[in-house]
Amino acid sequence: MIALNVNGQSHDVDAEPDTPLLYVLRNDLALNGAKYGCGLGQCGSCTVLIDDRPVFSCLVPLAAVGARKVRTIEGLADKDGPGALPAAFEAEQAAQCGYCIAGMIMRAQALLERNPKPTEAELRRHMATNLCRCGTHMRILAAVRRAAKAMGGGVAEDTL
């Protein structure tokens, strides 16, 4: 059994140590947020936070997580509501098929926690790690801008 801290809760997981975190989250802990998109660290559908940093959970073996804190989209909601980013994405209707969205939200969460006032260029470069095939990019950016404001910051328009 391997101990894991996910969204503030401790779990004991009976999985092989080389199992990528993605499959542990989905199959052992029945969490839907992180998704299988490529398993190769190229698309970001599996993005979760480990100690506040965004990672590809499809490439983090269970053995590497240790005592570090894992956060998924399920952990963004609290007693005050669904979380600024999920609320913003819903308000902007920022989804077509929506499969990439949970990963987008976690990727953006990492940015806004570290830098509440990114420039537009910084925002796009940061989000570049994550792919959206439906072409929902404009709304995803609008949702992150909206959430940044709600979180007390904002996205500064580049002069470039």
């Binding site: 080389d18 199992t19 990528p20 983090v60």
Partner: protein
């Protein structure tokens, strides 16, 4: 006059001559500023030739900052003497070389002296560019003068005392600069030692930062990476044939080795645009130099001590299984597509683990929108202890070489910090 006076006069004369000579060495006249030549005053064919040469010389790599415009300078170049920022070589009148005549440009390339007479630091490898022929330099000048001018002043250099004094470079030039074109013989050699300045990264340097002419292409450190030997000391697991090396230089991928990483990745992107026959010539030159390397005995079976390595490092095995095997294990998609096994990676076979740790931390990126190798970095996934275990596992599994004789955890920490050897 007394004998003493003669001696004094003699000494004075020698001092004067020495000072005059030193002055002559140190002091160069400023060349007159010219009006910025209009782009259409240059013959198109000459400009195209210059562009090809700029790709071979990889000017853009050093003269472009990571978030800057091409050739506008500002890239930080770490040296043992401090940090130097590359200059703007677009034809901007105030911040670039717009007011440089061709003569000024040639002098800079051949002698390492700027238009205003000041010395350029040999981080700019004029000790290689000096070998370029007159025609090549004229073409390069034409190309640079037709680039879009960018108004951008690079940051000031941050050099340790006394290296901030440009005039001391004169002494360096006296000791190490062999001025003048060297265009005879094999085109590959001419380019490698001239514009392509391969030795600038691949030849070890002495304490004064000059290439050790007794150890050409023995391998050297550059920006935290070890540029491997390109001669009989090459530790590659498979031979570098001319075709293999050409493919590598052109595409960044070698089917029997690995992908280009670090500074070399940038070089291959430039070589992708350079004239094919020139890149082939360079490849043939080095393939010949490496003809006596150990791999020449053609070891075909890739080494894979999976069980041994797993027993020696169960952590490393778990990390590899869940973090690397998706691409690097036999039967994985990249391998089904003919990717090289890790046993053929030169990085694992170097005496230093640094290149391996660099790739693990930072991954490999293709330029945006381009098709090419992509490997994510594991800086956020693995801590230094885990990186150390993984590096040790890779060495044990994919080579027959002894473990790296360093504290891998410490090495990982240093590489993560960006400390340079």
């Amino acid at each position: 006059m007394t004998k003493g006076r003669w001696v004094l006069a003699g000494v004075a004369l020698v001092v004067v001559v020495v000072l005059a000579a030193a002055g002559a060495l140190v002091w160069h006249p400023a060349l007159p500023a010219v009006a910025v030549p209009p782009a259409n005053s240059f013959d198109r064919a000459l400009v195209k030739k210059g562009q090809a040469l700029a790709h071979l010389g990889d000017c853009a790599s050093c003269h472009t900052a990571s978030t800057g415009k091409p050739y506008a300078g500002g890239r930080a170049l770490p040296t043992p003497f401090g940090t130097i920022y590359s200059s703007n070589i677009t034809p901007s009148a105030d911040t670039g070389i717009g007011k440089w005549s061709r003569e000024a440009f040639v002098r800079a390339m051949r002698e390492g002296v700027a238009r205003d007479g000041s010395h350029l630091y040999p981080a700019f490898p004029y000790d290689h560019f000096t070998k370029a022929g007159d025609d090549d330099l004229a073409a390069l000048y034409a190309y640079l003068m037709t680039l879009p001018a960018v108004e951008a002043r690079p940051p000031a250099n941050k050099l340790d005392w006394p290296y901030g004094q440009r005039s001391i470079v004169a002494a360096w030039d006296l000791l190490y600069l062999r001025k003048g074109p060297d265009t005879n013989g094999d085109r590959g050699r001419v380019l490698a030692e001239g514009l392509a300045h391969c030795g600038a990264c691949h030849t070890p340097r002495n304490k004064l930062g000059a290439e050790d002419s007794a150890r050409p292409y023995d391998g050297a450190w550059i920006e935290g990476w070890f540029a491997p030997p390109l001669n009989a000391r090459s530790p590659a697991a498979q031979p570098w044939t001319a075709d293999e090396l050409f493919a590598y230089l052109r595409t960044g991928l070698a089917g029997r080795h690995a992908a280009a990483a670090g500074p070399m990745a940038r070089v291959t992107r430039e070589f992708a645009e350079a004239p094919e026959q020139d890149v082939r010539a360079i490849a043939a030159y080095f393939a010949n130099l490496m003809a006596k390397a150990p791999a020449a005995t053609n070891k075909l079976q890739p080494i894979d001590h999976a069980d041994v390595a797993a027993r020696a490092s169960p952590i490393g095995s778990a990390l590899f299984g869940g973090g690397c095997a998706q691409c690097h294990e036999a039967g994985a998609p990249m391998m089904q597509q003919g990717g090289p096994p890790l046993a053929w990676s030169t990085s694992l076979r170097l005496d230093t683990p640094n290149n391996t740790l660099q790739v693990l931390l930072h991954g490999l990126k293709s330029p945006a929108g381009a098709s090419g190798p992509a490997m994510p970095g594991y800086a956020a996934d693995f801590d230094d202890r885990e990186l150390a275990a993984l590096a040790a596992y890779l060495r044990a599994r994919f080579t027959d070489l002894p473990p790296w004789p360093v504290d891998l955890r410490h090495a990982a920490e240093q590489v993560r910090k960006g400390a340079n050897e």
